[in-house]
Amino acid sequence: MRERSFVFRFLAVAVLVFSLLAVAKTQVRLELSSYKVTTYTDEQGHKLERLEPALKVSPGDVLEWRLRAVNTSGQRLKNVALVIPIPPQTYYLEGTAAPLKIKQGKQEVVVLPEFSYDGGKHYGRPPLYKEVTVEENGKKVVKKVQVAPEEYTHVRWVLSEMDPEQAVEVFLRTKVR
């Protein structure tokens, strides 16, 4: 290759970067919404739930987080991981992240949620374990302890495939600390 001088061209770069970003952003559209869950009893004595947009909440309130994802790329995408972080001011309510049933081709598959307690670094299915170092009789001992659902930091669903225009919704609940 012949040596070529290089000229910094800010405008050209800006256009390129924006176009790349635009391409990258339009492939999967994500919409996150939160609802405050309240329970009440109707006149027949049935216990019912009411969901309303969670603009204002109080400690102890239950929030439902819904993440809707649409494949807008026009192509089939693979290994789509949908991640809902657990806000640190809240904690995850065990059992509220439901398995996702989706159609892949002609068959229906079930995607189980996976959980992380280390900021999204590692995921696994409950029960999760972590190692803690404790001092026993002057010796440091590593112990394996189960991670409480309240310690979860992220929840994800991994779809092996997502067809063009396919839309899915996943949800979970947390409680305000």
Partner: protein, 928 residues
């Protein structure tokens, strides 16, 4: 406890210089819960991608709650009982704590009990601002307290026992509280009891030098003041304590050293208004008067007031003071509680086992103040001491980044050791540690990001965006995070780029720590190597240029070349060429990359199409050289140095990146002349005949033509040449060279001069050769062509001249060859035979004939004459004549015409051709 920390601290001191005891349950009101989801996926091109959702913001609302301690569920089970003289006040100590998540005002009322012996004469609630358990000067009666979330206030409730009550009578009192923020929140189970006694009553209160929060490492001075406020002298307890192995008798004031503190050596002192006082220390081996070597060995400090019998009179006082130091590692928010105890004998039986004889002071509460600290450093090594550093991180796209570490805070840095190119997205993994004693959150910020770079904070997974503040991080815990920077595609840097990432404590913005994330010099992300076929991408600039090619005018040259994406990003390259004027270049893809034009030829292209990093594509530049193009070899040395063809591949993503190859396309010198036609003629002796020839230059440069002759056997015949239409004649060999431009023709006349005395029938054949010499741009070439002129001496004076021309049509409206030297099948040839009387007397019975040539079909024949009044007769056999021209002639036949001068229809001696008159036969045939 975030942004409102300062306000709350202020409120705390304004309204509640008291005990901070219990952490609020719940996230503080006004906190914003922010959340943003993310997704990662592999797109159709197999590239890993990430995307994020909108951010959802929810605001935490206030929750009101509080508690009043100590509890007493009802009148039958009061939470505290005090003894007092009839007609005198007793004092109850309470603590009110705001356990909600926002500031609140708690309304307080004192309620007399119903299931007791008396109602109090009066009750008053004092705010015990310094929490020493006593009503001090300046401390006022309150009906409510205003408390920030988590804050506490100390209360002293004064209740005056009515006079005239007997020993053992008691009155109950309840302190009831109501939240003003939420009136449904009340605390009404705080019953206390005052019992009337005339015996000795020791009242002791305790205070701490610091009220409320105390910093780790600070000293606290505890002071216990006591007095006999009863109706009799207090008595000694037999063997109240064993000191250094000896049982002692008297009053004992003892105060245990609270957890998270240690006794400060030499700080204890005490005195009493009666008896003999000794400060004593409790250690693991019991009480001693000798202060141990280490303050941490002291578990309690005591004041022994020795005496016997009822030796401590009414009104007598005592005091004990000592210091403790708060442990540096004491967790923030933990409470240092302390309560002292006094043992005495009220009823003269020598022990302290009767009700009221073992008295606790009020409890002092100090909350350990938070101390904030943060270490922000390289991956796994927040304090940058080199221990724990992890030198690599694999980003969500699967690329592993390697780091080197610069240790020693505050100059610590993490430097990428991978090569970095424009268009790359680089990842740093950093680790911060909470080095304070309390949970804290941090604002992450960065500086030094070059213009155009896009940097953001991500969670440790590299794909979840992080919103400030990050955390909370428990004291001593670490948090990994990722700094992700997208470098513009066309960026390059000559030196490393330092991005300073700072973590700042949310609770104490003066506490921060930084780490430098260093991106090495950014190399160009785009590159292209264009070269002759099979040589692109080899990094060798010396083999790029295609070899020179030489082509004839009108030919097409094919130049195979390859383009290699030598950058690190996908790119498309525009392909452009520069060619000599008039040349036409077209670029075709060479899909199978064999360097040979595919058949059928593919559609031409003007760019390479998108090419991945490292990809090579093959192309062929087809150059059409115009017919008649003059020779090209600018430097005169075939195959070198002209560089008249360039091919440039230019990056469309970054047009400053391009590569050009050059080559020589040389056009051959083409030497080609024609010299026609051969001529036949008859001449008398003496006589002269002139033949006309056409010299045409079909080469691509000027031809300089000279002439030569050969074959003449009659040395006395003279051949001359004229190239100017017969004006000037010269001998053939000495004729001046004539220059004929490409495509042009030159008329050349040859004159034959026959001397007198040549016999009839003598024939001379002479070949005239045109020798063309081409010389241009240092190139040279020659060509030659000849005509043969055959001359026959005739006896008469009739000279025959025959010429021909080729026409596109039978009427010869369009002439395609003036000398009839070339004709294509279907074209017409018009032959003209002219017979001229060159003598001085009439010629009789003149007949002119011409045979039908082979490979032709007869079209027409016509005759004409210059003789006035004469007609032409026609014949196909030379004996039978007709005035009508024949309409058919078969192969091998000839056509005859004769001059019928007297116009009588027969050929006879009257039919004379006078001197200089002519008879002309015109025969038109079509080439088969």
């Amino acid at each position: 406890m975030k942004s409102s920390q300062a306000i709350k601290t202020l409120l705390f001191f304004l309204f509640a210089l008291g005990l901070g005891a219990v952490l609020a349950v719940g996230t503080p009101a006004g906190t914003e819960i922010r959340n943003q989801a993310s997704a990662s996926y592999v797109d159709s091109a197999g590239q890993p991608q990430t995307t994020t959702s909108n951010e959802v913001v929810t605001v935490v609302q206030p929750v009101y709650n509080f508690e009043i301690k100590p509890d007493g569920a009802n009148e039958a089970s009061p939470g505290q009982t005090k003894s007092g003289l009839s007609g005198a006040p007793v004092y109850f100590n309470y603590t009110v704590t705001n356990t909600g998540n926002t500031t609140d005002t708690i309304t307080l009322t004192a309620v007399d009990g119903a299931s007791d012996n008396f109602n109090f004469d009066s009750t008053a609630i004092y705010l015990d601002a310094n929490c020493n358990g006593q009503v001090d000067s300046g401390e006022s009666v309150v009906s409510s307290v205003n408390l920030a979330a988590d804050a506490s206030a100390c209360l002293v409730v004064e209740a005056v026992i009515p006079s005239g009550q007997g020993d053992g009578d008691y009155g109950n009192l309840n302190i009831e509280g109501t939240s003003q923020g939420d009136a449904a929140k009340t605390d009404t189970n705080n019953w206390a009891r005052a019992t009337v006694t005339s015996a000795a009553v020791i009242s002791a209160t305790k205070s701490a030098s610091v009220s409320g929060e105390v910093a780790p490492g600070a000293n606290l001075t505890y002071t216990i003041d006591g007095q006999n406020t009863g109706g009799s002298a207090a008595g000694a307890v037999t063997n109240v304590v064993n000191v250094d192995g000896t049982d002692k008798t008297g009053l004992l004031l003892s105060d245990p050293i609270p957890a998270n503190t240690s006794y400060v050596l030499g700080s204890a002192s005490g005195s009493a208004g009666a008896g003999t006082t000794t400060v004593i220390y409790q250690t693991a081996s019991g009480w001693t008067v000798t202060e141990p070597a280490s303050g941490s060995d002291v578990t309690a400090v005591g004041l022994l007031i020795e005496g016997s019998g009822a030796f401590f009179p009414q009104g007598a006082q005592f005091t004990l003071s000592f210091k403790v130091q708060v442990a540096a590692a004491a967790p923030a928010g933990s409470t240092i509680e302390n309560v002292a105890n006094v043992k005495f004998d009220a009823n003269g039986n020598g022990d302290d086992g009767d009700p009221g004889e073992s008295v606790d002071t009020n409890t002092t509460n100090n909350q350990v103040a938070p101390a904030y600290g943060v270490a922000n450093g390289p991956n796994g090594d927040p304090d940058a001491d080199g221990s724990g550093f992890v030198n690599s991180y694999t980003d969500p796209n699967g690329k592993t980044w390697s780091y080197s570490e610069t240790t020693s805070d505050p100059n610590d840095a993490e430097t990428i050791t991978n090569d970095v190119y424009g268009g790359d997205t680089v990842y740093f993994k950093n680790t911060l540690q909470n080095t304070g004693n309390s949970s804290d959150s941090y604002d992450l910020s960065m500086s030094g990001v070059p213009n155009g770079w896009t940097c953001q904070f991500m969670a440790a997974d590299g794909s979840t965006p992080l919103a400030n503040p990050v955390g909370p991080v428990a004291a001593g815990s670490t948090l990994d995070y990722v700094v992700k920077c997208a470098i513009p595609a066309d960026a390059t840097t000559q030196s490393p780029t330092e991005i300073t990432v700072t973590a700042t404590s949310e609770n104490d913005p003066s506490v921060s720590n930084s780490v430098k994330d260093v991106v090495p010099a950014v190399q160009s992300g785009y590159g292209v190597d264009e070269a002759q076929h099979d040589n692109a991408g080899d990094g060798n600039a010396n083999n790029d240029n295609p070899p020179a090619q030489s082509v004839d005018p009108g030919a097409t040259a094919l130049i195979p070349f390859d383009v290699n994406n030598s950058g690190h990003n996908p790119d498309t390259y525009d392909l452009t060429t520069t060619l000599p004027s008039g040349f036409t270049g077209t670029i075709y893809p060479d899909a199978n990359c064999d360097g040979v034009m595919d058949d059928p030829a593919p559609a031409p292209v003007t760019d390479t199409g998108l090419m991945g990093a490292g990809d090579t594509k093959c192309f062929i530049l087809s150059v059409e050289v115009p017919a008649g193009q003059t020779p090209v070899d600018l430097d005169g040395t075939p195959g070198t140095g002209d560089d008249n063809v360039t091919i440039t591949a230019t990056s469309t993503a970054n047009p400053s990146v391009s590569d050009t190859i050059t080559t020589d396309l040389e056009v051959n010198l083409h030497a080609d002349i024609t010299f026609t036609p051969d001529r036949n003629g008859t001449v008398t002796s003496p006589g002269t005949i002139v033949y006309t020839h056409t010299l045409t230059n079909n080469g691509n440069a000027d031809a300089s033509v000279t002439f030569s002759e050969s074959g003449s056997t009659h040395s006395n015949w003279t051949y001359q040449i004229s190239t100017d239409g017969g004006q000037n004649w010269s001998s053939i060999s000495s004729a001046a060279a004539v220059t004929v431009t490409p495509g042009a023709s030159q008329e050349v006349q040859i004159r034959v001069i026959v001397p007198d005395g040549e016999p009839v029938g003598a024939i001379d054949t002479n070949q005239i050769t045109a020798n063309a010499s081409y010389a241009v741009n240092g190139l040279g070439a020659n060509d030659s062509a000849s005509v043969t002129d055959t001359t026959t001496v005739v006896g008469g004076d009739l000279r025959l001249e025959k010429s021909a021309r080729t026409c596109a049509d039978a009427a010869c409206a369009t002439v395609t060859s003036n000398d009839g030297s070339q004709a294509e099948p279907g074209e017409y040839i018009e032959y003209t035979v002219t017979a001229t009387n060159i003598g001085t007397a009439d010629l009789k019975k003149v007949v002119v004939s011409d045979p039908l040539p082979s490979y032709t079909n007869f079209i027409s024949v016509s005759g004409s004459t210059s003789v006035s009044g004469a007609q032409i007769l026609y014949s196909t056999d030379g004996s039978n004549w007709s005035a009508a021209a024949p309409t058919n002639l078969v192969a091998g036949q000839a056509v005859y015409i004769a001059l019928d001068a007297d116009n009588n229809g027969t050929l006879d001696n009257n039919d004379a051709l006078p001197p200089s008159e002519t008879v002309t036969l015109t025969l038109v045939v079509q080439v088969q």
